[in-house]
């Protein structure tokens, strides 16, 4: 397995300006010193509640957010700033799928125009696959052919090209978003809550489809979600975020079967289970974890102003890292 993206000590701060001179008096630490690695052909899950900073990490990766400090490396090339991203034509390698397919597809463009857009910008690769980097064609007939081929991959009929986003259901629109993301043969797709607006049976279609293109083309995903059931099914590795910090990081198995941090345990205990017979037991367990979380915070967090700041990650096995207070600290 080879490393595709490495993120080192990433910080994204938003300044708070106050007073007559509009001076920076403090920072909101949306992402506070985060490091992790995405392997090629694998799915990395970022889990956390709203406001934990998971979307900010995704946005920094695709270039929608400027990091305050830290490094993003793509196959060893630094791509932290937009200039560095341009230099290696990084934007064709990383694409994004958004949560709300309604607002991320231009309502005044046909589906054909929407999917052709990245092909016009980056050219049509000779064949479909992750990261193919040979010759790219800007020929209009090639573009049209590729649009049809992409629609076929996501299971939509050819007449779709002339239709507009409002003519499709949520699940179909989400698949159009995936077709657009696939157009440039990306190595990595950042999927920010791609199925949280969908019904169960449609969600299943989209998730199956994402797994299929990963198998066939070796695409990596950064899968951002607050739904632990979906994350468990989709990911190989997971990081749990809270207040801009990682509290725990490991393989999906480490997190679901051997959670160490109280915040991870709290998230896991909150997943509703389909096992009706154990629900009272589960509710009692959840109450116990919740009271441990509120009463025993000092063991897991340092105070940073009013926010709880997780300790630095320490390895407990080769793959499993937990933010615990160091002995004697």
């Amino acid at each position: 397995m080879s490393e595709l993206v490495r993120i080192e000590n990433l910080k994204v701060y938003y300044p708070i300006r106050t007073g007559f001179f509009n001076r920076v008096t403090d920072n909101i630490k949306a992402v506070d010193n985060i490091s992790f690695t995405i392997e090629s052909g694998q799915t990395y899950g970022l889990v956390g509640e709203s406001g934990s900073g998971k979307t900010t990490i995704g946005k920094s990766l695709v270039g929608l957010e400027d990091p305050t400090s830290g490094k993003i490396l793509f196959e060893g090339h630094e791509v932290t700033t937009n200039r560095q991203k341009k230099a290696i034509n990084y934007n064709k390698d990383v694409q994004m799928v958004f949560q709300d397919s309604q607002s991320s597809l231009n309502p005044r463009k046909t589906i054909g125009e929407i999917i052709a857009e990245p092909l016009k910008n980056f050219g049509v690769p000779n064949f479909i696959g992750a990261g193919y980097d040979g010759e790219r064609s800007f020929d209009q007939t090639k573009i049209n052919e590729r649009v049809l081929a992409l629609l076929k991959i996501v299971g939509l009929p050819a007449q779709t090209v002339a239709q507009y986003p409002f003519q499709f259901s949520g699940g179909q629109r989400q698949r159009i978003g995936v077709a657009r993301a696939l157009a440039t043969n990306p190595r990595l797709i950042v999927a920010d809550e791609p199925v949280s607006a969908l019904d169960l049976s449609v969600q299943a279609q989209v998730l199956n489809f994402m797994k299929k293109i990963q198998r066939e083309y070796g695409i990596s995903f950064l899968f951002i979600s607050h739904d632990l059931g979906v994350v468990k099914y989709m990911t190989d590795n997971i990081a749990i975020m809270h207040n801009g910090r990682f509290v725990e990081m490991g393989t999906t198995n480490d997190i679901f079967n051997d959670a160490q941090h109280i915040y991870t345990k709290r998230l896991l205990s909150a997943i509703p289970s389909l096992d009706v017979s154990k629900r009272d037991e589960k509710r009692a367990y959840r109450k116990r974890i919740e009271s441990e979380f509120t009463q025993n915070k000092g063991a897991y967090y340092q105070q940073d102003g009013l926010r709880d700041r997780a300790y630095d990650l320490e390895p407990i096995t080769k793959t499993h890292y937990v933010a615990l207070k160091k002995e004697g600290a």
Binding site: E49, S50, S169, D199, L200, S201, V202, Q203, A204, Q205, L207, N208, K211, H226, D227, L228, G229, V230, K232, Y233, M234, T235, T252, R266, L267, S269, A270, I271, P272, S273, L274, D275, V276, S277, R279, K282, R283, R286, K287, E290
Partner: protein, 331 residues
């Protein structure tokens, strides 16, 4: 105590579209006892909210035809005028919506909004302020004084939903309708709100109609479950029966599409096809049969009946497709 709180019989709702009535929900039967949580499950467009709105009398009577019978504490609700409905809404029936930000008044302080819910029905009410404060603390908000002076935008999503619940509880309703109450919330907040609703149901012995698309929430909360597809009820059962012995192909398909219990190596079950459009819904048939085309139709359709079949005590299923249904992958 064991008497029926809500008794809905043969409730159909037709919407007038281009001058013609089209059926959105067809002959729905649901009953709720005091202190019981009844979950109504189904995907978007199945008619769950349409049913809830007919209980609340929120349909526009010019464009909508509601037929059948809905009895709340033995009083018929169908056919009541707007003014007559006002005596029930917020008094005998409280409602909790999915999106508290758009259902709270952005220009009113929290305390005033809860007070309004009391005074609008009881102008002579005394000690309104004490009642408001008690309601706020009842829904688990610790900082009562501060929150009652705040505006909705100053609160987090979970806090807003608590305020919505306080408003729904203001007049101690017998029935609470919760329409996707936790869909917009994070998992831990969802767990807190569900625990709160459960606590209220036990303390006040209120009946709860819980509308959701999330099977996990159903398994956590419900006493009995009604599964809807395309405006029809396809299955009704006690919660343990439904999850342990699901019968109707739609119920079984939904359970199989849930990713939380599936190995990540296996493919998720995606139900083929889509929900039919309103104008294509022929409610004399089991509409889900279209989504399982491999089943032998001749045998099944001949016996489809509008009534649900009783399969065991308190367990009802639509049609008889379930008797020889198998997933295509398993054949």
């Amino acid at each position: 105590m064991d008497g029926k709180l809500l008794e809905a019989e043969n409730v159909s709702v037709d919407f007038r579209i281009d001058g013609q009535y089209q059926t959105a929900i067809h002959k729905i039967n649901i009953s709720i006892k005091h202190g019981e949580v009844v979950a109504l499950v189904g995907e978007s467009g199945s008619g769950k909210s349409t049913f809830a709105m007919s209980v609340m009398g929120l349909h526009n009577s010019d464009q909508t035809r509601v037929t059948g019978s809905i009895k709340l504490n033995d009083n018929e609700l169908i056919g009541l005028s707007e003014r007559q409905f006002d005596a029930y809404r917020g008094v005998s029936v409280g409602m909790i919506f999915q999106d508290p930000l758009s259902s709270l008044n952005p220009l009113m302080k929290i305390g005033d909004q809860i007070a309004e819910a009391i005074t609008v029905h009881d102008k002579q009410s005394k000690k309104v302020k004490q009642r408001v404060q008690k309601l706020i603390s009842d829904v688990g908000i610790v900082d009562v004084q501060r929150v009652s002076q705040q505006y909705p935008h100053e609160l987090s999503g979970g806090m807003r939903q608590r305020v919505m619940i306080a408003i729904a509880l203001a007049n101690e309703p017998d029935l609470i309708i919760a329409d996707e109450p936790t869909t917009a919330l994070d998992a831990t907040i969802q767990a807190q709100i569900l625990d709160l609703i459960k606590e209220i149901q036990q303390k006040k012995n209120a009946g709860i109609l819980l509308i959701t698309h999330d099977l996990g929430v159903v398994a956590e909360m419900a006493d009995t479950v009604t599964v809807m597809y395309a405006g029809q009820i396809v299955e009704q059962a006690r919660v343990a029966d439904l999850f342990n012995h699901p019968k109707h192909p739609y119920t079984r398909s939904l359970l199989r599409a849930d990713p939380s219990e599936v190995n990540s190596g296996d493919e998720l079950y995606a139900i083929p096809g889509t929900v039919p459009a309103l104008k294509d819904m022929d409610h004399s048939k089991d509409l889900f049969l279209k989504r399982i085309p491999w089943l032998d139709k001749a045998e099944v359709e001949a016996t489809v009946d509008e009534k649900l079949q009783k399969v065991s005590d308190e367990h009802y299923v639509r049609g008889n497709a379930w008797q020889n249904f198998e997933f295509l992958e398993d054949l």
